[in-house]
Amino acid sequence: MPRLLLLFAHPALEKSRIHKRLIRELKSIPQVTFHDLYEAYPDFNIDIATEQQLLLSHDIIAFQHPFYWYSAPAIIKQWMDLVLEHGWAYGSEGRMLEGKKALNIISSGGPRHVYAPEGRNRFTYRQFLAPFEQSVRLCKMDYLPPFVVPGTHRMEQQDLETFAALYRQALILLTAGNAPTDPGAELLNDQLTSSGILTH
């Protein structure tokens, strides 16, 4: 069974509502390695060897983080800059990650409908996440559609519970080797609707 490395980044988890709730689901999914970047590297001094070792021992890499300024919190960037080395992760010699899968798991304050060409944010999630998608490609991995928890600013508790269940289901499917069939889909959420859970 594929193993999933969850690279988690939340600079102020003590203030989080969404991600704090989501990661509670992880306890019962043994295939997932939870790696809390801000906790491991409060000084941003990322241990490259350890990180690369972790990457090698997993098949799916998930960046889980709140959507900050249409992107990820700073440590994710730092992680990418340092860990994805030329000649290791990319370049003609760099094939260590070849064939693995990667995706973003994000939450956004804005609701889903504003992430559209006609919406207030003018671009879709996947457009905003293009740097991730292309970086992943460059490292010879497959980029999967992102899992998004949208509209967190006005999310009721019961909706959050729904999303937690959905999140759990997504991780179980991924670690069961049932990656979504349509890599071009806008969100991973959509692929899960067939199981009867609605998306925004």
């Binding site: 600079p11 102020a12 003590e14 203030k15 801000y38 249409y70 304050g109 600013h153």
Partner: protein
């Protein structure tokens, strides 16, 4: 002495000191030798500017020794005494015992009556606390093993004077001359022996009791007046008062004040007392050394040069051998053993007191006493010279091979950008870190063992007192970019800073500070890069404590670095508004300052730390406007 002669004399003394001491220091001879030379020059032997037949000056000067012992006592917290107990009793006890036995044995062999031999042995076994401590401090060796062992031995000797004074009357073997009459009679003279003892014990108890229950409240009261000079006056009164009391009951004033010092060592005014008395002590000790220099009776020496020379060398050699062996048993390095042996081989200031005492009590005859006074003074004068010989000939030889030859080469063929002064715990961490990044280092250190080790490891090391201009020059201070000052006593750091400011103004200084107050001093000295040694560590503990309590690592880390910044800013602010006048109360002032600090550290201040990630306002806005444009 009328006022005219008093002032003239004072002028001569001061002028001699002002001229000779800087010259001596400049030549690397140390201040003690400077004072002694000054004394010899103005004394009857050379210029004959002072006439000290009555010994007045000597008496005044001995008060410097009294004050020194008070200050030593102040340093002696019970914990320190306890830590040193083994070397005080073991090393000190053996040193006095062995030296006394050897010297007494030889004297007896030379035909002195046994009583005189024993008295001489005991007297000559003592070393000079004044000279040795001053020298060790100047060399920054007090914290090194050799410094601590020397201190222990000196302490034991100083205490051993009490039983000696008590024992000596038993050694009487000459008819009592009329010498006793002209000394000031003491209160206890007429009393029966048991009562004398009682009075003596009572005075000791009085000092201890009064130190606890009278002096402290008194100091507090005086401190409240915020009159610095009254506080100084009180400190002086304290020392002089005890000295008078002790003389009245026939005890050594030095020991009385020493005791009082120990009693006050734990008091909150310790530092104030120290800093107030320090200049007096310094001046009076200087005076004492001058008086010793002036009192060397060169006519006597010229009359019997061989005998006196032989006696001086013989006594010093005997003591040095004992010390060397003790140094070996205390596992000092070879170099330190020689330093220990040479350093303590002179006879000390208490010998003057004891010689007079034994003469008066019919133990030693007059001629022998005068001869011995000359021997003692000469041995004191020779100490700085012996140490110089040690430093320049032996120390270099005992360092690994061709140290001095290498120094020359180093200076030419490589220019390290960084000099580290002091390679103890603090300095060596900095050094190891820089070296790990292949940054060339030059190290200045005064621990011979460490220097030896570092040389073997391929470091470029200079042995000696880092604050000396020549050493800095040799180490390449002219061309280096940075000097990292990690020396141990904070005074040493200030001294080094002054030297650098004067001679190497382009060298950037990064300075270790022991604590806030030390940091203030460094700021006053104009330092820009100050590193409080406990600051980062304490905050790291704080960070870990927060983490164990469940705080996020990143949050704790940011909190610490914010706290650090605020505290540094605060330090600068408080240092700017600090007022010399108020500083007299520093113990209380410190508490008030702590209060200020605690107030500014209050939680509310720390909470703006991550407003960027606070979303309440965003969420509010989202709830208010259904189609708000403010929100992503």
């Amino acid at each position: 002495m009328d006022q005219q002669t008093f002032l003239t004399q004072a002028m001569i003394f001061l002028a001699a000191a002002v001229i000779m001491v800087p010259i001596a220091k400049r030549l690397g001879l140390g201040s003690v030798l400077g004072y002694l030379l000054a004394g010899i020059i103005i004394g009857p032997a050379v210029l004959g500017l002072i006439h000290n037949d009555s010994g007045d000056i000597m008496h005044a000067a001995e008060f410097g020794v009294v004050m020194m012992l008070f200050l030593i006592g102040l340093e002696l917290e019970p914990a320190l005494l306890w830590r040193l107990r083994k070397s005080i009793i073991g090393l000190g006890g053996l040193q006095v015992l062995l030296s006394a036995v050897i010297i007494a044995g030889i004297s007896f062999g030379l035909g002195l009556p046994w009583q005189q031999a024993v008295a001489l042995g005991l007297i000559l076994s003592l070393s000079s606390t004044a000279i040795v401590l001053q020298t060790l401090q100047e060399k920054g060796l007090m914290q090194q093993p050799v410094g601590r062992h020397s201190f222990s031995v000196l302490l034991f000797q100083d205490i051993a004077v009490i039983p000696m004074l008590a024992l000596f009357p038993l050694l009487q073997n000459l008819p009592l001359g009329d010498a006793t009459g002209d000394e000031h009679s003491t209160l206890v003279d007429g009393l029966p022996a048991w009562l004398q003892t009682l009075v003596v014990l009572g005075s000791v108890a009085l000092i201890i009791g009064a130190g606890r229950f009278v002096v402290r409240p008194l100091l507090r009261l005086v401190a409240k007046t915020r009159q610095r000079e009254v506080f100084t006056a009180t400190a002086l009164l304290l020392v002089i008062g005890i000295a008078v009391l002790m003389m009245q009951v026939g005890l050594s004033p030095a020991l009385g004040t020493f005791l009082a010092g120990v009693v006050l060592a734990n008091s909150e005014y310790r530092h104030e007392l120290e800093s107030d008395l320090e200049p007096f002590k310094g001046l009076l000790l200087g005076l004492f050394f001058i008086a010793v220099g002036a009192s060397i009776n060169f006519t006597l020496v010229a009359a019997q040069p061989l005998i006196i020379g032989g006696l001086v060398l013989g006594v010093m050699a005997a003591k040095a051998v004992v010390l060397y062996l003790l140094g070996r048993s205390a596992k000092l390095s070879l170099n330190d053993r020689f330093l220990f042996a040479f350093g303590l081989s002179q006879v000390g200031e208490f010998a003057f007191v004891l010689l007079t005492f034994t003469n008066q009590h019919g133990i030693l005859p007059q001629e022998l006493t005068s001869l011995m006074v000359a021997v003692v003074a000469l041995s004191m004068a020779l100490t700085p010279l012996a140490l110089l010989v040690h430093e320049h000939l032996l120390a270099k030889r005992l360092q690994p091979a061709n140290a001095s030859a290498r120094q020359q080469d180093d200076a030419i063929d490589e220019h390290n950008q960084v000099i580290i002064a002091g390679f103890g715990h603090f300095g060596n961490t900095v050094g190891r870190f820089l070296r790990a990044h292949k940054i060339g280092l030059t190290i200045l250190d005064n621990d011979a063992d460490r220097v030896e080790l570092l040389r073997r490891m391929g470091f470029k090391v200079y042995y000696g007192d880092a604050s000396r201009h020549e050493l800095l020059a040799a180490a390449g201070a002219e061309s280096a970019k940075l000097i990292i000052i990690c020396l141990e006593p904070s005074e040493k750091r200030l001294e080094l800073i002054e030297t650098i400011k004067k001679h190497f103004p382009n060298l950037r200084m990064l300075v270790r500070a022991s604590n806030r107050y030390d940091a203030y001093d460094l700021m006053n000295a104009g330092m820009l890069h100050i590193y409080r040694e406990t600051m980062d560590t304490s905050l790291r503990v704080g960070v870990d404590a927060m983490r164990f309590l469940g705080f996020r690592a990143y949050t704790a880390q940011r909190a610490a670095s914010l706290f650090f910044k605020k505290d540094e800013a605060n330090l600068r602010k408080l240092s700017a508004i600090r007022d010399e006048e108020e500083y007299i109360l520093s113990a209380r002032e410190k508490i008030e300052e702590l209060e200020k600090l605690l107030q500014t550290d209050m939680v509310q201040n720390m909470q703006d730390i991550e407003r960027g990630w606070d979303e309440e306002s965003l969420i509010d806005a989202a709830h208010r406007a259904s189609d708000a444009t403010v929100q992503p």
